[in-house]
């Protein structure tokens, strides 16, 4: 490769990396500018109305990340360390399929759950359904990440535990779990960031066109900042209408970025997104 | 060991310090290496041998946490700092690692990789250089008709000799061996030693090793390092028979050198 070609590729790679990195600040800038514009133009925005959405976003993020991480870590430990080879293959295939279900698929299933639930107007029930859906979505992602982390551990660790007389369960509990403590903490933070922005499935739950939906009454408790943005996007006609939700978008952006930053500060490494 | 005449200085290392993050790995190391001599670096694990070797051809550039201070001159030219053609430097200062790593391609392409990276396109001159390098590594007879075979399935000692041939193909002045026999059985290790011994006449060699007998067999000069510093250096027979520092004496005797100090 000639030096000129090497320079060309290096420059192109640098530009592309900078372009990808620039997506986050650009999006932040647009949303920030929109939030400022909404203030300047006195576009209607009610913090009182948003308070419920913020609380629901945080609550759903916490519940989804915590339950999803616990479920995914437990399932991965069983699949990799304890299960028989046949079961391991079966679990890997099934959870792999779950991981690949598109978000709208979860939404349709969740909408189905609402259809058959007789206690529809009860906020606790709708929140539980939303939390269940987000937990399962997160757990499948955690399972894949955790399985990767477990396979990356050196075989010597397993051998040492086995040589010391530990069976598969004790190896999983006493050797593998402690070795991956920081990874699991990182996975939780990443799950939290993922759960905060996960909207599509929820949106499916309480309706895209809420006014016409037979399911939308009384289920606003499971609405989040992200699902609200989806509704706005779907129905906004004109800049002013879209600007009404800029402060909420800015808040969601800040919450997600902050959760990744806090995760890095707390555990040093957040494995994904 | 044949008598040496005074030789020109090939490498001058002055007050070289290396940090990985906030941890110092080398602390103000100073020494010279004469042209076409063999120098052995000995010392406990973590004494800074590999860090020193990697600084000599700027391999620390691959570690974003590495910070280097001081001076390294090769043939009088400073190699640290910006503006150095590191590709040319590394072709001049070849390196062989403890674990042989084959590039995922054929045996021939492995040997010719350095030349191809340099921009050489002439197939014939590349083949000639590969043959020369393989002959010097004692592999030509074995590999002459296998140049198009994949390199990965070769046994580890052959891979290590191929690594030496790969380094030789770009015709370096200096060769760095970072514990080249660490992964090999004693018989295979001796065959690698034979190859290194044959290269001593034409190259300036620095070898980091944990095998004291290997250092005694191969090196004209031996440097004992501990805790990122040079404790003692000198002619190999002298250092091994009459060490001037209690820590060197303790290390050579297989005792804990730290205990010797206290």
């Amino acid at each position: 490769m000639s030096p000129a070609l090497e320079r060309f590729f290096v420059t192109a790679a640098r530009l592309c990396a900078v372009a990808v990195v620039a997506i986050a600040p650009l999006v932040g800038l647009v949303v920030f500018a929109a939030a400022v514009a909404s203030l300047v133009r006195h576009v209607e925005f009610s913090w009182d109305a948003s308070a419920g959405l913020i609380a629901a976003t945080l609550a759903l993020g916490l519940v989804g990340a915590t339950l999803g991480t616990a479920l995914g870590v437990g399932a991965a430990l069983y699949a990799v360390e304890i299960a028989t080879p046949a079961n391991r293959q079966l679990i890997k295939a099934l959870v792999g399929a779950l991981h690949a279900v598109p978000a709208v698929g979860y939404g349709v299933a969740a909408a189905g759950l609402l259809l058959v639930t007789p206690l529809l107007p009860n906020p606790a029930v709708t929140f539980s359904i939303a939390a269940t859906v987000v937990t399962v979505m997160i757990a499948s992602v955690v399972f894949v990440q955790m399985r990767r982390s477990l396979s990356a551990l050196p075989d010597q660790l397993r051998e040492a535990a086995t040589a010391a007389g530990a069976d598969a369960v004790a190896t999983a509990l006493r050797a593998m779990l402690p070795a991956l403590q920081r990874s699991i903490a990182g996975i939780w933070w990443a799950s939290f960031a993922l759960a905060l922005g996960e909207a599509t499935a929820l949106q499916m739950i309480f309706g895209a066109a809420s006014a016409k939906s037979a399911l939308s009454n009384g289920v606003a408790i499971s609405g989040t900042l992200a699902s609200m943005l989806l509704q706005v996007g779907a129905s906004a006609r004109g800049v002013d209408e879209a600007l009404r939700f800029a402060p909420a978008a800015l808040l969601l952006f800040a919450m997600t970025i902050a959760s990744v930053f806090l995760g890095r500060r707390a555990v040093g490494h957040v494995p994904w997104p | 060991m044949q008598e040496r005449t005074p030789l020109e200085t090939k490498i001058e290392v002055g007050k070289l310090s290396v940090w990985y993050g906030s941890e110092p790995a080398l602390r103000g190391v100073t020494f010279d290496v004469a042209s076409k001599t063999t120098t052995a670096l000995i010392g406990e694990g973590g004494s800074g041998k590999s860090t020193l070797m990697r600084a000599l051809n700027r391999m620390h550039d691959l570690n974003p946490e590495a910070r280097v201070q001081g001076s390294i001159k090769i043939d009088g030219a400073e190699i640290l700092g910006a503006g150095v053609d590191t590709a040319r430097l590394r072709r001049n200062v070849g390196m062989v690692f403890a674990r042989p790593t084959m590039l995922p391609t054929t045996i021939g392409d492995n040997v010719m990789f350095g030349l191809a990276a340099q921009g050489v396109r002439d197939e014939r001159s590349m083949r000639e250089a590969a043959e020369r390098a393989l002959r010097r590594a004692g592999l030509w007879e074995q590999m002459a008709d296998k140049l198009d075979a994949p390199a990965s399935p070769l046994p580890e000692d052959t891979q290590q000799r191929l690594s030496i041939a790969r380094a030789l193909a770009v015709d370096p002045d200096v060769l760095l061996f970072d514990d080249p026999t660490a992964m090999l059985d004693p018989i295979a290790a001796l065959s690698i030693e034979d190859v290194i011994a044959r290269l001593r006449r034409d190259h300036t060699i620095i070898i980091a090793t944990n095998d004291l007998q290997q250092a005694a067999r191969l090196a004209d000069i031996t440097i004992y390092m501990a805790n990122g510093e040079i404790v003692e250096s000198g002619d190999t027979p002298l250092l091994f028979n009459k060490p001037g520092d209690v820590r060197t004496e303790a290390f050579l005797a297989g005792r804990n050198p730290r205990g010797a100090v206290s």
């Binding site: 679990i91 997600t256 957040v270 | -």
Partner: protein, 280 residues
């Protein structure tokens, strides 16, 4: 005596409760995929069967065509920029002292919710007076998926590559030469599976395009299928209406099957390479 002691069964440290809990977690997750798929099959399969009738395909062609249109348009730029960005981030020498920050920033970009990116795109498009279109949506999809492609390509280029890079560097090869002649050919299969994974993300993504274009527009407009909505949006707009739940479930089933097939291909393509990497 010693032989007797040896012949005894070794003391087991079996803890039934953790084993049961871990097993329950695994089978619960497996059960949920069966519930979801079973539910979609029960509700959607009759509609899929009826869609195979004489009038069925017409309503399905529009969304499928639009899905393909967006995927074909969004994938090449996302893939190209992602691979080049990964090439730049894979060698610390390309960004020098900023290499660590660059990798952190790249992983941080991936955490921005797609709904926010889409919302920003909607605002930007509205500000410059652009009308919503499938091409515009494809553009946004390309941008949204660039961080994912970069992450996957970076993993493909750097997995077990440190020693190779070290060896090639020690032979005097410049960074980009190492990436192009050693690492890219080795990562070919993994990169192909990365393209497929990104394609499935584009196919399954509904929020972005729904925001960008608005979900109140009918599922097809006029005779040109290009104006139809992708399958995911088609499902999304109908999702909550109880009266069309069967159609929604059928579409979701179709989309899930499409994505499973693509993910399966991606895994099969990545598998032979992981085996060859073990040899290195």
């Amino acid at each position: 005596m010693a032989i007797d002691a040896l012949s005894d069964k070794p003391a087991r440290m079996f803890r039934p409760l953790p084993a049961v809990v871990f097993a329950a977690c695994a089978w619960l997750l497996c059960g949920s995929v069966i519930v979801i798929v079973g539910w979609l099959l029960a509700n959607g399969l009759p509609k899929v069967v009826s869609a195979l009738g004489p009038r069925g395909p017409e309503s399905a062609i529009g969304p499928l065509f639009a899905t393909a249109y967006i995927t074909v348009l969004a994938l090449p730029p996302a893939a190209a920029v992602g691979v080049f960005a990964a090439m730049g981030a894979s060698d610390v020498r390309i960004f020098g002292a900023a290499a660590g920050s660059m990798r952190s920033a790249l992983s941080l970009v991936g955490s921005v919710p797609t709904v926010i990116v889409a919302y920003a795109a909607l605002l930007a498009a509205a500000a410059v007076g652009w009308h919503p279109s499938l091409t515009g949506a494809a553009f946004v999809f390309a941008i949204v998926n660039m961080p994912l492609m970069t992450g996957l390509a970076l993993r493909a280029l750097t997995t077990r590559a440190a020693k190779l890079r070290e060896v090639a560097t020690a032979l005097g090869a410049p960074p980009m030469y190492i990436v192009i002649s050693v690492l890219l050919p080795r990562a070919r299969m993994r990169l192909r599976s990365a393209y497929i994974i990104v394609a499935t993300q584009i196919i399954g993504g509904a929020a972005t395009i729904a925001i960008l274009a608005g979900a109140n527009v009918p599922a097809s407009r006029g005779a040109l299928p290009i104006h139809a909505w992708p399958l995911a949006v088609h499902i999304w707009t109908r999702g909550s209406s109880a009266d069309v739940y069967g159609v929604t479930a059928a579409s979701a089933l179709l989309l899930a099957v499409l994505i499973w097939v693509l993910q399966g291909i991606a895994q099969l393509r990545a598998a032979p390479e992981s085996a060859s990497q073990e040899d290195l």
